[in-house]
Symmetry: C2
Subunit: 242 residues, 2 copies
């Protein structure tokens, strides 16, 4: 990391959420640090002359091997004391030429199916893992705040653009699968009857002439998500939602 | 502007929109520059150790005298060539100690009633003005991109949170005033009959026992915005808008 290549003042951090058919997880790295186990978001300094979006894609790939995700910038964090924890300071000193530089970080998020992506640790990531978001985990720097903000903003987006949720399901799915997904996003159990009633109002949720097979319970109906109907009803520039 | 006080790599820019009862305007400054008239957003470098939100408030005040606005961070712009226009380069050289430093800028937006705020130019702002957004105006740096993005993101927010629009109206208002406001935000004329029909569906729009007086046309009914009903219907954490 020579001064020539990196801007010591600007970093990117990636908040990647993954749905594993049961729950939402967050992608963490364990960084290489003598005597300490510190988990953090995949993030690093931006190169000189590098565009921010390009930096986010590069840093995620360099640390975790993950690529071809859609990363969206959601917020920049620049509190002056965001890197002042002694454990973090010690680590920064071991890897950076200007450990004293104030770093503001531009945060990106993404929501994917865990099974669609391979990952492997590299660079200063000793380990890469999917950690369930319902289990609190202390992270380095201000990464807990960044991760929580990223999740809150992504949830807001899913409310307005339910297509984001549906993209996490297989092509044909049961209402039970849909409810499991929404419960993972909402973070609580939902009443089955109300959930189904509200969901089935949506014309973009289309019943198929097909049921589950080889299950021990009563086979459930499959549904599919109709992209064209969704676009017709939602994606138009609608000024009066209310 | 000594090196000791300013971080040469991080700036803030403020995109302030103002409704003047007829149209939406954007707040611009004309900067002091020999032989050139360059309009720009109010923005400047962040001080060392200064929080980003604090910096946005300070910079806006220092350049324009405006204060007590709610500023919301909406996006960070970090394209490596964002300050490469020769006219901008010349200006940067005249006011900054590290004119070559790459600056990323954290952008904030706000929407206010123009009449609620006083402004006066100071610091390197030679002039401060409200410029109508429907009239394109070339701005310095990448400020056209920042302004357009800020307006697009604010409009999206108003769709989801109509309270933002209603806050720009007087306490009692006519449907004509409401339509003028929405036409200014949407950027086009709206069909009067449809507009009224859709708006009057909203229980938070409450008719008053009061009409206009002293007007030459048929006096129109006054309405008020009911905050409590709005909160009951909108502000709850609603997961299924659809």
């Amino acid at each position: 990391m020579s001064e020539f290549h990196y801007n010591p003042h600007i970093s990117v951090d990636c908040v990647i959420f993954g749905f594993d058919d049961e729950k939402i997880n967050i992608l963490l790295i364990k960084r290489k640090q003598e005597g300490e186990n510190v988990y953090a978001l995949p993030g690093d300094l931006v190169q000189k002359g590098e565009d921010l979006d390009v930096a986010a894609t590069r840093v995620l790939y360099e640390l975790t091997g993950m690529e071809n995700l859609y990363l969206e910038q959601f917020k920049t964090f620049g509190s002056p004391d965001r890197t002042s924890d002694p454990v973090d300071v010690e680590w920064i000193k071991s890897v950076r030429e200007h450990p004293e530089a104030r770093v503001i970080t531009v945060a990106y998020n993404s929501l994917v199916k865990t099974e669609d992506f391979d990952y492997r640790p590299s660079s200063f990531a000793e380990e890469v893992l999917w950690h369930p978001i319902e289990k609190p985990q202390k992270l380095g720097f201000d990464h807990n705040e960044i991760a929580n903000t990223g999740w809150a903003m992504l949830r807001e987006k899913i409310k307005r653009e339910p297509i984001i949720a549906f993209s996490l399901l297989p092509e044909k799915f049961t209402l039970r699968q849909l409810q499991t997904l929404y419960e993972a996003i909402v973070g609580q159990e939902l009443d089955k009857r109300n959930f189904r009633k509200r969901m089935l109002r949506n014309r973009f949720l289309v019943p198929m002439n097909e049921k589950e097979t080889g299950v021990s319970h009563k086979p459930a109906q499959f549904y599919r998500f109709d992209d064209a109907i969704y676009k017709e009803e939602f994606a138009k520039d609608q000024w009066f939602l209310f």
